[in-house]
Symmetry: D2
Subunit: 429 residues, 4 copies
Amino acid sequence: MTLVSTDLIASENARLAEHLRSDYAHLGEQLARQGVDIDSVKEKLKSFSVALPSWGVGTGGTRFARFPGAGEPRHVFDKLQDCGVVHQLARCTPGVSLHLPWDHCSDFGELRGHANALGLHFDAMNSNTFSDQRGQANSYKFGSLTHSEAGTRAQAVEHNLEVIAAGRELGSKALTVWIGDGSNFPGQQHFRRAFDRYVESAREIYAALPSDWRMFLEHKTCEPAFYATVIQDWGSSYLAASALGPKAQCLVDLGHHAPNVNIELIVARLIASGKLAGFHFNDSKYGDDDLDAGSVAPYRLFLVFNELVAAAYEQVQDFNPSYMLDQSHNVTDPIESLMISAAQVQRSYAQALLVDRQALDVAQQGNDAIAASQSLKAGFETDVTPILKQARLEQGGAIDLLACYRASGYRAQVAAERPAAMAGGGGIV
Amino acid sequence: MTLVSTDLIASENARLAEHLRSDYAHLGEQLARQGVDIDSVKEKLKSFSVALPSWGVGTGGTRFARFPGAGEPRHVFDKLQDCGVVHQLARCTPGVSLHLPWDHCSDFGELRGHANALGLHFDAMNSNTFSDQRGQANSYKFGSLTHSEAGTRAQAVEHNLEVIAAGRELGSKALTVWIGDGSNFPGQQHFRRAFDRYVESAREIYAALPSDWRMFLEHKTCEPAFYATVIQDWGSSYLAASALGPKAQCLVDLGHHAPNVNIELIVARLIASGKLAGFHFNDSKYGDDDLDAGSVAPYRLFLVFNELVAAAYEQVQDFNPSYMLDQSHNVTDPIESLMISAAQVQRSYAQALLVDRQALDVAQQGNDAIAASQSLKAGFETDVTPILKQARLEQGGAIDLLACYRASGYRAQVAAERPAAMAGGGGIV
Amino acid sequence: MTLVSTDLIASENARLAEHLRSDYAHLGEQLARQGVDIDSVKEKLKSFSVALPSWGVGTGGTRFARFPGAGEPRHVFDKLQDCGVVHQLARCTPGVSLHLPWDHCSDFGELRGHANALGLHFDAMNSNTFSDQRGQANSYKFGSLTHSEAGTRAQAVEHNLEVIAAGRELGSKALTVWIGDGSNFPGQQHFRRAFDRYVESAREIYAALPSDWRMFLEHKTCEPAFYATVIQDWGSSYLAASALGPKAQCLVDLGHHAPNVNIELIVARLIASGKLAGFHFNDSKYGDDDLDAGSVAPYRLFLVFNELVAAAYEQVQDFNPSYMLDQSHNVTDPIESLMISAAQVQRSYAQALLVDRQALDVAQQGNDAIAASQSLKAGFETDVTPILKQARLEQGGAIDLLACYRASGYRAQVAAERPAAMAGGGGIV
Amino acid sequence: MTLVSTDLIASENARLAEHLRSDYAHLGEQLARQGVDIDSVKEKLKSFSVALPSWGVGTGGTRFARFPGAGEPRHVFDKLQDCGVVHQLARCTPGVSLHLPWDHCSDFGELRGHANALGLHFDAMNSNTFSDQRGQANSYKFGSLTHSEAGTRAQAVEHNLEVIAAGRELGSKALTVWIGDGSNFPGQQHFRRAFDRYVESAREIYAALPSDWRMFLEHKTCEPAFYATVIQDWGSSYLAASALGPKAQCLVDLGHHAPNVNIELIVARLIASGKLAGFHFNDSKYGDDDLDAGSVAPYRLFLVFNELVAAAYEQVQDFNPSYMLDQSHNVTDPIESLMISAAQVQRSYAQALLVDRQALDVAQQGNDAIAASQSLKAGFETDVTPILKQARLEQGGAIDLLACYRASGYRAQVAAERPAAMAGGGGIV
């Protein structure tokens, strides 16, 4: 299978290795002055990973249009190949998160073997009850797990059970449930009854979870429902997860919040209550924009990681978040966006690791807002690029992700192998 | 004590009574066609009330300026007098909510008698740990119930206990706790520890609650803290109230939410979980603007009442919300704003009572979004003014609130009696 | 051609006429007390109309899914038929706004005759350079009128010229230009150059406008571009319209603004500067939700009409706005949504006509905020339904839009005639 | 006069100089690889300055409370002293912006000499017609420059003329006009007339401007008016500035926009139309929070500077923005906040200078969104701290601002010299 040639990676890296050595050494010296061992930061980074969404290697779109790119993946095997390239260069994205029925496959066992051969494994499984499939008995036009009719709810539950079954074959350990259910008009839906139906349906799914699985509930303030959604915020997500039991937790997508909302504070609340499932990383300026992680508001991403690193540092119980990218790549080569976004997530993690937690504690206890703020900024303002590059180099990845990928000619190759998709209508991401 | 002369009310009403009779009769006929008995709506309205905040009879302000009005109340007795006038004309505001230490008084028993003489009683008590008082040992600059130092927390708890004690003397049955605690910089406050300290402090207050009291926790997304607040949304409020126990519930102020948030949906969630304390009614366009209830977004207020009426109609357990106005009257005569706002709240309630709940159920079950939406609109678009006027008339109030109040000359009278306050700096509301 | 039988309309109306007579008479009496002649309000309403978007009779969708309804129009002739039904019952929607190439047609002259036979004419024409069409030489993936390459800009200009040509045949008098151009990443687009290219391209279109045409520039804060758009707000729209000349004006879509923005204030600014093109009416809670007009925030719609009625009352020069519905009917029968939305727009207009402008002027001049606010509310709180019904009755429409339409069985009829569309991906609206 | 001892600065710097030398050298080497000469960046930085607001050295507050700090300045001379300390250490804040009547002074000539002795001069003058002063004939409760009564408007104009007169004595070259005028209720103010009155009043002020002065119009979306403001956004500001003439320009305060608004895009529009007056720098999460510049959203500040540096690079005509901090220091020592904020502004400027504009142009022209985005990030992710430190060192400032200031004991000294202010009500910023 076509991936990037390891020779190319090696030669590209060779070109850059000397400067990296020098930069890494100088940064090491700077950090040492602050009592930080650069190698231990690097090692933490090497054990960190963020999953790829299988749909993320395709070009996304909006309700207005989708403008396909060259060499788009035609099926789940193509998608895995593209994910393989991302991981080959970035070395921090071994997990792939599938979406059924989009990634349907006649033999999940074969698929698992295929993924393993690429150094990949399967992260959380995603069900889809927000669009109708050909031949489906009941429509989700007016809801799925919360539909007013029992038959539609049963169908949606059944689909989730199938996704769990597929996930078991694939070695996944979690089911992510996001529904589009909600309403476009005041009065359309009975708020309390719809929520009760959600919990009732989710209980049936929960009951079918293998003992070592988790169920991730994903809230969203709006879209596709534009007056109200059923799991509209972390409060409703928490209520539902609590009603279900300990295996149910709340997933945070960075774009699923009302304007101005302090997301890192929500993360802290979910950590404290043992209900943080993990993240769908992306960035947003207006709503669920699904932009590349950290491309618009990198400090916000850092502040989220500051909460995560603090929780690990303080050994908060039951703290085990799952990380995934969830972006819509409308105007870029998806592989480029995924590599760079994964590195951006690593960057935030590395910067958060640099924060002097003892100094921060002292500043917080003494209400020294300036010193506390500067503690965080000291981490954020550090250019940790050499650590990221060194970690990639040591793991066989590319020092310069973009240059190496572009040099590989991978996109042109698959464009030749994969017939062009037609320009289409709205695109789903 | 100067109130409005009952003769004036009677003569003003006499002028308007005939038209009212005709309008009420015609509306009654229209409603009868829909199977609604206008008199029973009117009777429900007559048993509905919304409390007045003692601070609401003074002119509010912003951090930029406060522009005092004429005849501003000088102390709690003046405030009660003004509240008495509001209730005298509007007949739906018998409760007054005090704020300590602003309404401090050497003899709360005397105050209670004084209120009762005016037909008033005392609603929820409000503590204030968001500003410092002269002679206070510890400052709340960096927090009160969540302060990093135990001594400041203890002082804030102690103040709340005093407020409960005063409330017992006054016949109040609830304590509303709103704190300004939070942070202005990322890092300034340890999110999880601050919340834990909140719960710890609140537990001490909760323990001191009389058995028939409730404790209302009020969340707010920002201001005075502008990076993060401790009880930032209904989710955090719910977590805290749940940690405390059944007497603790979540208060909804209509202006304390992030932009675009669906408030009526939050109300539904709190109703379902038995945690709806009640409301601080006001309106907002941008943030916690504290505008007059329904002056900017009357349909939103109606949609809140639609949830309340539905809950009552369905006999949801433990449903017993408390209603209060909480507004900042910066550019109006506060008495006028309060009367009209109270009537606006009544209007929303009456409109919600007109919704055909059976038809709505059928539409919701059948996913007939248009019919469901029109069911609500049918209530909202009805001009229920004659019902409000008739209810006031039967209870001795004024048919035309504004005309009667203005005719009374009350403001000029108290302006003569009460020396003018100086134009000041920022105003607290 | 199948429309609603006039017999049915007559018999439905007969059933309701007596109550309408009584309600209209009583409302007339109430208004007379305020010095308002109900018949003259009704006559103004009868001369008011709002155009239908041809795409609005199809079911809309989101990027996640589109759930088709029964009997969806297959082409522009089906669309005109559905628009004909809306107008037949609602009697205030004679104009239809086409969208090319969606409504492409081999003989626009024939189409015009067909429309006229249905009592319809053609309102503003809409071009589409936000999605690619099969066989198109250059893609709009990275922009159209503002694309960095001249060839793509020329193609987009050329398309607009074709739309103008079609519009001339159809008798239209305006071109509406909305582009999706913008960027998803900081840095992707050079802000100033992109705007300059917009003006340059728009100048070529402007030059081709017939002398009695206008060009409507439509701004939008985001979507499909999620970091920045080229014509992001009314300020940019105004700059562009001013650069172009007097025939270019700024179109206001109620959903194309940042959160919390005061839309009626923008309307006032555009009126004062002679640059108000008109409106795309819809409603929104979160963003460009394209909900039914007035379904979520009816007072906001009223406040817009308050500005329009005031401008007419004060005889502001060059005040000649164009009105259109622009909504996405995702969960309703589009015909029902359009009829009810048109009536909602009428309602707002009628309510604004009831405002006592002289009393309002006095209150404004005297800074009597309460009286001014109550002047507007007096109009808004009036139930003008009888006026709307009477106007429809007199014009041959249906007193009860929904009941009559449902009784007609039109949807079932066309569902039988038009083969079902398949459930698809994202839907464009 | 007490400032920080130069000996202390020297000894503090000596402690840090060696590490700085090493860091500066390594960064220089890194930048040289990209073709950037570190010294020329440093020199540009040395010629950059940002003005201090006189009110910024006092502790700010909210409408709820103000919690004074120790040693607060009592009058304009104390304020200048504190500004002197900021500039002494930070070396980039020689300008001070006064606010009348807050900084009233019997002899502005003396004040000017006093400032010069501290190495300070006077930046833009600020008028205040958003609060009433003792003895003022007409109140600004209902507006100032836009008041419905001519007398109040004349008074507000007259005040601005006095501010210009004072500014002439002080050597200022600009007048900043921000008004609180607006409304809290729909209907309260006639939108078009209020704007016309604004322009009429502003014309009188404009006419009195010395020939080498500019007039900065500052827009704001809300607060203190909470329904509508007169100069609510850059569009209205542009209309007014255009009506006035070339000396009138639009000032951008980073916190005065609706949620989600793309501020850097507005900056680009104002640059292109020759109407960018300059900035009030601060940061915000919710509204006009007046947080420290770059403390919450540093990338946004960078993106603003990216537009500024691009404009200078492209030699846009009439591009001459004025820079000022405008923050509310509620929980910090104002001197610390100002020093660190000034350095943050410098940081953004330096990072923007590092962007490879040629590479960016190529990426933009080729619609290479990833490369374009990475061009900006390459600048932003560079830790430019050594450049800032070196620039300060060479200019006699402190390498480590916070450490040096805290070592100086300045705050304790002035706390002893200046009697404590009382805890007060709302605080104005």
